[in-house]
Symmetry: C2
Subunit: 219 residues, 2 copies
């Protein structure tokens, strides 16, 4: 392992702290202490605390958006000129995320936990999510519209909203389902979630935005 730069040490520490305590629950000194770095370096490298937060959000968002974009393009191309099957679109939307959460280590889990908080927070939920993820989301919505041509636009948007809520609560991994299920289900077992999330969400979409069209029906 090549040794980390100070900037990366700060980013990593900030990510972990923000994920656990939220933006306002963490001080610049907390971050510096957690990164084993002088407090002034936080401001030297990033300007201010909020800029650290934005940098944390941006870093992995770029990676994820590329992966998800490619997954969607792959699915669309494979079925072209027919619309892609619903479950493949939903899978392309979720797979990169849940796969990283499962196998990416604590750093990725921290990032997703942070995402889960952000999405449900008035100060950030509207702006940050929009800023980092809306362009990609619009592409997925286009794919969904092609597959569900009879879908009412508002229905489609609310279905996406439900998907977003189910997904981000999963990311938050608060441990609630662990206690609620007496340990049967584990918040951090994202593979188990993925197996169930895709069919659950697809069924929801179909019930409201169906019928689904595609190559299967036309053969």
């Amino acid at each position: 392992m090549t040794e980390k730069s100070t900037k990366d040490k700060i980013l990593d520490a900030a990510e972990a702290q923000f994920a656990r305590h939220g933006f306002d629950g963490v001080s610049a000194r907390d971050i510096a202490r957690s990164a084993s770095v002088d407090p002034a370096l936080v401001n030297y490298h990033f300007g201010n605390k909020r800029a650290v937060f934005d940098a944390v959000m941006l870093r992995r968002a770029e990676v994820l958006n590329n992966e998800r974009q490619q997954a969607l393009d792959f699915v669309l191309r494979r079925h072209h000129p027919n619309p892609a099957p619903l479950d493949e679109i939903i899978d392309a939307f979720t797979h990169a995320l849940l796969n990283r959460a499962q196998t990416g280590g604590q750093e990725w889990r921290d990032y997703f936990a942070l995402l889960g908080q952000i999405n449900n927070t008035p100060e950030f939920g509207g702006s940050i999510m929009t800023q980092f993820f809306d362009p990609l989301v619009h592409r997925f919505l286009d794919a969904l519209r092609a597959t569900l041509p009879e879908a009412d636009e508002a229905d489609l948007m609310w279905c996406y909203h439900f998907l977003s809520g189910a997904l981000t609560l999963t990311f938050a991994a608060t441990g609630r389902i662990d206690s609620l299920s007496n340990g049967l289900c584990k918040s951090t077992d994202f593979d188990e979630v993925h197996k169930r999330l895709v069919p659950f969400i697809c069924a929801g979409f179909r019930s409201m935005c169906g019928p689904e069209v595609g190559p299967i029906q036309e053969s």
Copy 2:
């Protein structure tokens, strides 16, 4: 309108502030200022800041839990000895919440926004939600098991988890769907959500935990 007690003024102000900025984003002085009250009164009446937070959470949780309990009992009794239909159970779970959010005024909307945050927060999501809502949730899970007798236990729990996520993102009302839909959908139009949430979630449950049994199938 009878004039508010100091304690209620503090609770109301705290609720609004916590909903907007989270626990750590609000100081005891912020609350006092927003309540037009001397800062020392916050500690005089509640002991410390965290106790204010807990009091805010508890106040409306009791009201809601009673309403939802009654709604569930009513549905179960009406269909006894048959299991209640899935959609009626889900409606009993969500109706009191979304109805209050729609018609209860800003104070209730603040409370739900706070709930939406809490549920996705590691520090509170596990403990506070469990503390205030688990007994009721277990009753709903029992009703679901009766209606979906073939359901795998883990499947059922994850389906509930998806419901919880979709619901609490709705409560958070971050305005994201407003911008994502170019104003077609409004975060605060909880009636529109309710219309769609119940069938969406029911379809999800059925696809994974079905088949549903009940009086209709047996006639």
